[in-house]
């Protein structure tokens, strides 16, 4: 077991991890942050997406050891004192979540995309949104309402 220290959802935290452990398991087991989902465990579905230093990554493939000294954001960091993040609100308003299993990962990928968007967010195109979410599988919605939600959130200046 090795001790690591990192910033998790705004708080400095420390924990012990096994050498082969992945970030997904550490978040779910050590910190009870179960909003990060395991859909495949092989980096193919994106349900486990979290942000590491602002970039969206598959936490099921990300060695927990490498998180030492970094900044991690999960779905649980988005709502502010009970008020939804504009992206979450847009997902709600557009019916972008059905079974909901992919939703946290989808929202975190969208957040990484929006946070890093180089120009004014209202200039976003659908093609750019599709590209940004291409690694997140959803079986319920067919993506249409998800793309609409992200677009709406960006047009309304997140």
């Amino acid at each position: 077991m090795i001790k690591i220290s990192f910033i998790l959802n705004g708080d400095r935290v420390e924990t012990w991890v096994k050498e082969h452990e992945m970030l997904l398991d550490v978040l779910r087991s050590n910190f009870n942050l179960q909003g990060t989902r395991e859909g495949c465990g092989m980096g193919e579905c994106g349900a486990c997406t979290v942000l590491v230093n602002g970039a969206g990554i598959n936490s099921c493939l990300f060695p927990a050891l490498e998180i030492d000294g970094k900044i991690v954001e999960t779905i649980e960091s988005l709502a502010d004192k009970g008020k939804f993040h504009p992206l979450q609100q847009a997902f709600l308003d557009h019916g972008a979540s059905q079974c909901g299993f992919c939703t946290p990962g989808m929202i975190m990928s969208a957040k990484a995309f929006i946070d890093d968007y180089p120009t004014a967010p209202e200039t976003v195109t659908e093609a750019e949104i599709k590209q940004a979410l291409a690694g997140n599988l959803c079986r319920c919605t067919g993506y249409f309402q998800i793309i609409a939600a992200v677009k709406a959130a960006m047009k309304e200046q997140v």
Binding site: G35, C40, C45, F84, C99, G100
Partner: protein
């Protein structure tokens, strides 16, 4: 009549907040104290005799608490499956690669997996058969030697007869000017629920069972597992089924599966709770997919393009055991007999055991397979008759107030409007550039329940508290499709309160009344019908309270109101003069008289707290059983649903003749939905269905090599991503069905049904090739294009 407050409104789904916030608890997220982890050891052969199972090494592993094999099985004679052919732990033989040979419960999932690896199984391989036509031959290897009664089985053909016919086929065949015939094939497609399957089973000290598992059928699970309890010698014990948030279903959770029984048996043996959780690979291998089909379809029409007859015969690769896959012909009956007006129909289906994987329910339940054959063949017929395929469909479209050859009573039908909508929105007659083409396909499906079981009922309890808030206890299952939101909209609308006032309690057999399950696009329809009954009775009860207590209440409220005119007070004593809207009770003919209004909670408290007299509360219940018929055991006919959904999908594609890639340029989905209780939810179902249909049409196929699944992961089994989306225009046609709640029809499944034939027809229009074998991968399209050029 006031305008609707909530029906027809785009309200956010009630289950969405906890899902977008990461708080929803799926089976993955649930543990119980002192729980063990179960793991299943599966077959390494498609067909083999189990010679010996050696658990000596595995049982020595620290942390292993119990091992289930045929030798230790406390319920050795127990079978599951549609014709009870599947022992959860295999005895004599394995008949497919995923067969469950042994299972371990251990303190840690890694120990359980290690123990499974240490179990040594000796097999004597047998010749397998992997093609249903070969399997039906006399000399084919026999998959099952005995049926569940112990009677010898002579061949691999299932003893289940699927046949329906109506009209004089030979007469209409002779009357036909044009006849086409073709064989259409569909393969195994997997549900690919994003949340994988799992279960936690535990016994209490009375030996009653509690299971937590995602399921579409909590009450059928209760029934199934109570049978297992009996087999375990636990007489008169009960199962409580609780479903956590469900991470996708689509039919995948419409049956009980071996792993669920195994978890229960392990919990029984170990005396501790046991959790079995699938990873993605095991989800692909362990959960049965959509039923594959081979359908020979012949249709004819007269010189004007009017359909004369439809004759079809299906062969189904049943795989090694029966689940719902073996029963999909029952749903194929609907399109086979009733899509378009056909004077003579004849449809037969045969299911044959093979050593392949078996299949189960998947959105549309056989209808997508049947509609692929019917609607591809319709275009082939139109081509032969020299008639525009869209015009031919208009000519033959179903109409309201007709009874179909199956006996389906069409109470409303927007099919003609759907076809015309596609024509207009897709600019059907416009000339298109080379390699571009348009195609369309229609559907009909049950939209008002489906009486497949003896009861198609839905139970609901409504209770109101002293604050005007409502709890609904419903048998409905929320698989993300939005049933609980529709229920809340209905109850709020009928009583005159707000959707926020309503808590929907579901997924617990110990609390909720019976419902047959979320299947057959029935949940919204039947739940809302029950909700209308519950809420109407509750409203009547509140108004009864009001008639008794309003005068006193209004006098009290107006004590200090000098301008109060008491002229209307006598009217308050008749409930017929009163109504409720937006939480207020008032005189319905005097809505402007705010001095004559009382809040609903005040009235409810007056009814409840009556001092010396006995108080009353508003508690109502309903069991809505639709007015439908079972299919007749001999003729297979009967009006199985209160209403039927119709739709037309039109698609424009571009085919790249160099690569075989099919791009969807434009897609129009026009649906007769009766009435959209929540248009956003309806659109969500259609969007999702269409996209699953696109996956089914263009990319999805489980590849098997002698029964072994070659692609059990998302890298090799492709489902659509955001990059596969396209402009999709949904047109909702409101026909206001006379039987539907507020006129609504069930539409959960329909989005997927006509997608593949619409695309097949568009490809034919674009490059002149007819594809009869799903999916239309680049390789297949390219080969067909090259073949045509030669």
């Amino acid at each position: 009549m006031r305008k609707n407050n909530f029906i027809g409104k785009r309200l956010a789904k009630m289950d969405a907040p906890e899902k977008i916030n990461g708080q929803a608890a799926y089976i993955n997220d649930i543990t119980v104290p002192n729980m063990l982890y179960g793991k299943i050891k599966r077959s390494e052969h498609a067909h083999a005799i189990i010679k010996n199972i050696d658990i000596s090494q595995a049982s020595k592993l620290p942390g292993v608490k119990t091992i289930l094999t045929r030798e230790t099985n406390p319920a050795p004679d127990f079978r599951i499956g549609f014709i009870q052919d599947n022992p959860p732990i295999k005895h004599d033989k394995v008949r497919q690669f995923r067969d469950e040979v042994a299972a371990v419960a251990a303190t840690d999932p890694e120990i359980a997996a290690a123990a499974c690896a240490l179990i040594k199984v000796d097999y004597e391989p047998l010749p397998g058969v992997f093609d249903p036509i070969a399997a039906a031959q006399e000399d084919a290897p026999l998959i099952h030697e005995f049926d569940f009664r112990g009677n010898p089985i002579k061949n691999n053909t299932l003893p289940v007869r699927w046949q329906i016919s109506d009209g004089d086929l030979e007469f209409y065949r002779r009357k036909s000017k044009y006849i086409v015939s073709g064989t259409y094939k569909t393969g195994w497609a997997h549900h690919c629920c994003l949340g994988t399957a799992g279960i936690i089973a535990e016994f209490d000290y009375q030996k009653n069972l509690k299971v937590q598992m995602p399921t579409q059928i909590p009450f059928l699970v209760q029934n199934d597992l109570n049978k297992l309890l009996n087999a375990l010698g636990l007489k008169n014990k009960n199962t409580r089924v609780i479903s956590p948030t469900i991470g996708g279903a689509f039919g995948n959770k419409l049956d009980t599966h071996c792993y669920e029984y195994i978890a229960v048996i392990l919990a029984f043996m170990a005396g501790r709770a046991v959790k079995i959780m699938f990873d993605r690979e095991e989800e692909f291998i362990g959960m049965a997919p959509r039923q594959p089909t081979i359908i020979k379809m012949t249709q004819g029409c007269d010189e004007n393009g009017l359909l004369t007859f439809r004759e079809a015969e299906a062969i189904l690769d049943n795989g090694a055991y029966t689940s719902w896959g073996a029963t999909v012909p029952s749903v194929m009956y609907v399109p086979m007999t009733s899509l378009y007006r056909v004077p003579a129909v004849d449809f037969k289906a045969t299911c044959v055991y093979t050593n392949n994987i078996f299949s189960q329910a998947f959105r549309g339940y056989g209808n997508p397979q049947a509609t692929f054959a019917i609607e591809s063949s319709m275009d082939e017929l139109a081509l032969k008759a020299g008639i525009d395929p869209l015009e031919m469909r208009l000519l033959n479209a179903n109409r309201a107030n007709e009874t179909t050859p199956m006996g389906l009573k069409i109470s409303s039908c927007g099919l003609k409007e759907c076809i015309e909508t596609v024509k207009e929105k897709l600019d059907w007659d416009k000339p298109r550039p080379q390699n571009r083409g348009v195609g369309l396909a229609c559907l009909t499906h049950v939209g008002g329940g489906a009486r497949i079981y003896k009861s198609d009922g839905h139970g609901m309890i409504l209770k109101m508290d002293d604050f005007g808030k409502v709890s609904i206890m419903t048998g409905a299952v929320e698989i993300g499709q939005g049933s609980e939101t529709s229920i809340a909209q209905t109850v709020a609308e009928i009583i005159g309160i707000m959707p926020d006032d309503i808590t929907v309690i579901r997924h617990d057999t110990a609390i909720c009344p019976w419902d047959v399950g979320t299947h057959a696009s029935r949940q919204m329809f039947l739940s809302c019908k029950a909700a209308i009954l519950c809420a109407s009775e509750a409203k009547a009860k509140i108004l009864e309270f009001a008639a008794t207590f309003m005068e006193d209440e209004i006098r009290k409220q107006n004590r200090k109101n000098e301008n109060f005119a008491d002229d209307l007070l006598p009217l308050l004593h008749d409930a017929a003069n009163l109504t409720i809207d937006l939480r207020r009770v008032f005189l319905k003919d005097y809505p402007e008289r705010t001095d004559y209004a009382a809040t609903i909670d005040t009235i409810l408290r007056r009814g409840h707290f009556q001092g010396g007299k006995s108080g009353e509360m508003v508690i109502t219940h309903a069991f809505y059983e639709p007015d439908t018929e079972m299919m007749h055991p001999k003729t297979s006919k009967g009006n199985i649903s209160e209403t039927y959904a119709f739709a037309t999908h039109g698609v424009e594609v571009e085919v790249d003749p160099e690569t075989g890639k099919v791009d969807i340029i434009n897609f129009v989905a026009a649906h007769d939905i009766g009435k959209a209780i929540n248009p956003m939810i309806v659109e969500g179902q259609i969007y999702g269905g269409v996209m699953q249909g696109v996956g089914y049409a263009l990319m999805e196929e489980m590849l098997l090599d002698k029964g072994k699944i070659l692609n059990p992961d998302f890298l090799d089994y492709k489902i659509p991503t955001t990059m596969d989306t396209f402009p999709l225009d949904i047109a909702m046609i409101e026909t206001l069905d006379p039987h539907g709640p507020f006129g609504a029809k069930g539409i959960g499944e329909v989005g997927i049904i006509p997608v593949a034939p619409a695309i097949a027809n568009a490809i034919a229009d674009a490059v002149g090739i007819r594809l009869r074998d799903l999916p239309f991968t680049c390789e297949k399209v390219l080969a067909a294009v090259k073949n045509k050029a030669e």
